[in-house]
């Protein structure tokens, strides 16, 4: 694909707008940011039409390559290009950004230009992370994202924002630095920084163990996996609404993307070796964080813990090494990105009115905020994984994939969905049902046009993903096939199974997946 450098343009638009924001007033900055994100969204829509999938489509599309400099014999290039996974996650980021700007329209009143600039910078760095094809360029984007998020949490966050911002920054930095050393080792031993080349490179098995662990240190923190998840509730609770949306919606996906892009294809042998570890951590996370979510009195903290539980289902699915698991993990990531973003937005909307996140301070909102109650109910159901919503598809596929590999893991993973229903319904009951007894809650107005627009946009996507998931699985279909094939040829993953779901040969898997698609329609 030569011609229009769409990926660079996607990066340039918010980058230029971010600088511009600093020089215009508060209102100017709002409009600049909204305009820039909408332009990017339009470009994203164009990208959606241009991205080829199906037979004969190239794996890497919209490739750009410019060598910037060489250092110590190592090249550093502006190398961009996307496959199906990166494409979907970029679309998710592009979709969420205008909503984030909209969510901050009225609630952020101090230092608006800097706020908008920080958000646009975050967008640049997120898209860059997904689009980078150079190992160090990836790292630059991946790590650079810390700076704007640190500022967003620290300046516009809640009471305990400074503690949260430090925790967020230092936790993720430590993990990433170990990954950096691993990257250097990889580059020096292969002589290339190109991610596509490295994805096909077979590292010696004993090396893979160490490299895998170093990458795991970074991705596990970003993901976040138990027990290194503790930065997430703090960061979420303290971040402003839009910060939480982007944190849950996109930044949490960096860990999963990292596993997909690096750990699985580059270190398949080590991935199999550590499958048990990942499953064990994921199982603990699903049960433990769900139980923790159940006893939260702070709405944002509850949703933050539910994010950790959902991400654990993602890691389970990824490390099932089969098409169902990986398809499902991607769908959970996309679904969770939209749903948790929407839930944080729902919390933010009532927080803007009452300035508290204490669940007990609310109650009976269905009476005076009916529109809000309907939409909140939809997202609650989506979070639980009700059929017809986005999360059902992802969770079903993931757990089906996991079941083929480890029945016990699937069993424990499924309890997470039951517990998820428990804490989400409990939250909904306490906030929305019940009698309207409190005076200040009575005075809360229903949603205005801006809020309805944001939530309806999210609701539409949630239903779209639930009703016709093929739109989202088709672009990555070939990539999933390549990945499972790579895993199988390098580490014989197809043979890993304790459930023997279908007697016969592994070829049954694609057919099974196809029928699962049909079933979800």
């Amino acid at each position: 694909m030569t011609g229009f450098p769409i990926l660079s343009v996607l990066l340039a638009v918010p980058a230029i707008a971010a600088v511009l924001c600093l020089f215009v007033g508060a209102q100017g900055a709002r409009w600049t940011a909204l305009l820039a994100t909408l332009v990017n969204l339009a470009l994203g829509a164009w990208l959606w039409t241009q991205f080829q999938h199906g037979d004969g489509a190239p794996q890497w599309q919209f490739v750009e390559h410019v060598t910037l400099f060489k250092m110590g014999g190592v090249e550093f290039s502006w190398a961009l290009g996307i496959d199906g996974f990166a494409f979907l996650l970029i679309e998710l980021s592009l979709f969420l950004m205008p909503i984030c700007i909209g969510a901050s329209w009225l609630s952020v009143t101090k230092r608006v230009p800097e706020y908008m600039a920080a958000f646009l910078a975050t967008e640049v760095l997120m898209i860059g992370t997904f689009a980078a094809q150079d190992l160090f360029l990836f790292y630059v984007f991946f790590e650079g994202g810390l700076i704007p998020m640190y500022l967003i949490i620290g300046i516009w966050g809640g009471v305990n924002r400074i503690y949260a911002s430090y925790k967020f920054f230092l936790y993720t930095l430590l993990g990433s630095l170990l990954m950096l050393i691993a990257m250097i080792v990889m580059v020096l031993n292969t002589g290339t920084t190109s991610i596509p080349v490295l994805m096909a490179h077979d590292f010696p098995a004993n090396w893979q163990t160490w490299l895998w662990l170093a990458f795991f240190a970074s991705f596990a923190v970003k993901m976040p996996m138990w027990p290194v998840h503790t930065w997430l509730p703090d960061a979420h609770v303290q971040a402003p609404t839009a910060g939480s949306v982007i944190l849950a919606g996109v930044l949490l996906k960096l860990g999963g993307y990292g596993f997909l892009r690096f750990s699985l294809p580059m270190f398949p042998v080590a991935s199999v070796q550590f499958m048990g570890l990942v499953f064990a951590l994921s199982c603990v996370a699903v049960v433990y964080t769900s139980l923790v979510a159940l006893v939260q009195s702070d709405m944002k903290k509850l949703i933050a813990y539910s994010s950790v539980a959902h991400m654990a289902i993602v890691t389970m699915g990824l490390f099932a090494f089969n098409a169902n698991g990986i398809d499902g993990a991607m769908m959970v990531m996309l679904g969770h990105g939209v749903v948790s973003g929407a839930l944080f937005l729902c919390v933010g909307i009532i927080y803007d009115r009452l300035h508290t996140r204490e669940i007990d301070r609310y109650g009976g909102l269905a009476i005076n905020m009916p529109r809000y109650a309907v939409l909140f109910l939809l997202f609650t159901m989506a979070s639980i994984g009700l059929p017809g919503t986005s999360n059902f598809v992802g969770e079903f596929f993931s757990l089906a994939g996991v079941y083929q590999v480890s029945t016990w893991t699937a069993l424990i993973g499924t309890t997470g969905i039951i517990l998820g229903a428990a804490y989400m319904l409990y939250l909904f009951r306490r906030v929305v049902w019940g009698d309207l007894t409190k005076d200040d809650v009575k005075a809360m107005p229903d949603l205005d046009g801006r809020e309805v627009a944001m939530l309806v946009a999210l609701a539409a996507v949630v239903l779209w993903m639930g009703v016709y998931p093929t739109s989202f699985t088709a672009p990555m279909h070939a990539d999933v096939a390549r990945l499972t094939q790579r895993l199988d040829s390098a580490a014989h993953t197809a043979a890993i199974s304790d459930s023997k779901p279908t007697p016969g040969s592994p070829q049954a898997a694609p057919a099974h997946e196809a029928s699962a698609h049909e079933g979800a329609h």
């Binding site: 250092m71 790590e143 911002s165 050393i181 250097i184």
Partner: protein, 485 residues
């Protein structure tokens, strides 16, 4: 080789030495009134010396029977040193003008010039004695500069402390040099290298090893690497801020470049011996520099610990050795100088109502609202010093890590990388103070054009725009490093 050709190789030093003597006379007769003239003339001389580097001074090779080396390595270091020295002269007038009771006198630029001559000798030395003479010329000028504000007790204390401890370090270094001379029979780097490769065991080996340890102890003091760093915070805090900026930049580069040349040229065959010392000093500097900085409340002290921390990272490259290692050290120091000078330039803007210097970190509170441009620049320097991409400080660190991994020191690089998280904490603290805290009273006074321009240039160089020049810098550092092998 004719004597005049050899002299041409030292042209930059000649220009600076002769120029500084003339300017000293101008200062003696012109008195206080000649300050401005002498300052600008000094900057012009530094620029002239920089131009003089273009000729035989950068390509000539060995002069005066091996005492002096005019090679690409020295050129790289000298360019950075001259630039840092020129900036130190440019930022002084503003500082002294606003500080009541003390005026800038024309001796200030002259002393910087003399110290620059010394640094030129340090990085070009091919002999332990040339090295020592250069080092002393640099140090003696620096002692006086540290106590330049005569009526300020802190400044006087800094000068005295620097002098006493510096003299001790010089003594240690000289003792090491005498041991090396005693067991190698020569002070020329080439001869010493031969002695090290010939003596692999026995008493000569032991003697040379002792000499090596003492020489490295002396060098570590000049670089302010742990465990010989204790003078740094006090001197940096007490010295006038432009002088501190100078100490943190030019002499640091000179000391590190000198250490690299001694390690590689003179003691290259003993790499396995000195590598242990360098690795220890490196990790100790990184960790101690980071941990000790956390509790600081004075920004100059904090930057002092930051400089200790950064020398630790530069030493990772030296421990790696080889062309790549040396190139990464040079690159690291060049970028470090830009970041640190930028940081001190911002410190210079911290002024109270009546022009007195404010040095507490707490006074930076909320600076992002009172002085947004300044706060942004300092935030860029801090994130860059912490090694966060996409700023250039990250690439500097990446370079030394690559070199270390290439040399097989993966564990060392991993520990160094992990320890840089500790350092990130206190850099973040500055950003937090500026951006998260409620505003303190704004700093008085406006940033003048020269200082503002220099801050802006440093910040732009460090930002991703700097990627454009980074390639050329990397190539050049590699060329410079090749000169040593």
């Amino acid at each position: 080789m004719s004597y005049s050709t050899q002299l041409l190789m030292t042209l930059p030093e000649l220009v600076l030495a002769a120029g500084s003597i003339v300017l000293m006379l101008v200062a003696a007769w012109g008195g206080q009134a000649s300050t401005k003239l002498v300052s600008w003339a000094s900057v012009a001389l530094l620029a002239g010396a920089g131009i003089a580097l273009a000729g035989p001074a950068s390509t000539g090779g060995v002069a005066f029977g091996g005492l002096f080396r005019a090679d690409a390595f020295a050129t790289f270091a000298k360019v950075v040193i001259y630039a840092a020295a020129a900036v130190s002269i440019l930022i002084a007038p503003g500082f002294f003008q606003r500080t009541s009771g003390e005026d800038l006198r024309p001796e200030y630029p002259v002393l910087i010039l003399l110290s620059t001559v010394g640094m030129g000798m340090m990085v070009s030395a091919g002999d332990l004695l040339t090295l020592y003479v250069g080092l002393e010329l640099q140090s003696l000028s620096a002692y006086i500069l540290a106590s330049f504000m005569r009526r300020d007790t802190r400044s006087a204390e800094a000068g005295l402390k620097y002098f006493v401890l510096g003299a001790l370090a010089s003594g240690i270094l000289l003792y090491g040099i005498s041991l090396v001379y005693g067991f190698a029979g020569t002070t020329l780097f080439d001869g010493i290298a031969d002695a090290y490769s010939a003596a692999t065991s026995g008493s000569q080996h032991t003697g040379l090893l002792f000499g090596l340890v003492f020489v490295f102890a002396g060098l570590a003091f000049k670089m302010s690497a742990v465990p010989f760093h204790m003078w740094t915070p006090d001197v940096y805090e007490g010295a006038p801020t432009p002088v501190t900026a100078y100490f943190a930049s030019a002499p640091k580069v000179a000391a590190v470049a000198m250490a690299v040349r001694v390690a590689v040229d003179a003691m290259g065959p003993a790499i396995l011996e000195w590598r242990q010392i360098v690795i220890f000093a490196s990790l100790a500097s990184i960790i101690f520099g980071a941990v000790a900085a956390i509790g600081q409340t004075n920004i100059k002290r904090l930057l002092a610990y930051s400089s200790i921390n950064n020398v630790g990272f530069a030493l990772i490259g030296l421990a790696a050795g080889g062309e790549e290692g040396v190139a990464s050290v040079l690159l690291y120091m060049a970028i470090y100088v830009v970041m640190t000078i930028g940081g001190f330039l911002v410190v210079l803007q911290m002024r109270g109502e009546d022009g007195e210097q404010i040095e507490t970190i707490a006074s930076l509170s909320g600076m992002s609202r009172t002085r947004p441009g300044l706060a942004l620049a300092l935030a860029i320097f801090m994130f860059s010093l912490a090694g966060i991409p996409p700023l250039l400080g990250f690439f500097a660190k990446l370079g030394v890590f690559i070199a270390a991994v290439h040399a097989g020191l993966t564990v060392f690089a991993t520990v160094g990388a992990a320890a840089s998280t500790i350092g990130a904490y206190y850099y973040l603290k500055i950003v937090k103070t500026m951006y998260f805290d409620e505003p303190a009273p704004a700093f008085a006074g406006k940033t003048n054009l020269v200082e503002g321009g220099l801050i802006a240039i440093s910040a732009v160089v460090i930002s991703p725009i700097g990627w454009l020049v980074f390639g050329a810098l990397g190539t050049w550092s590699l060329v410079a490093a090749k000169a040593l092998f």
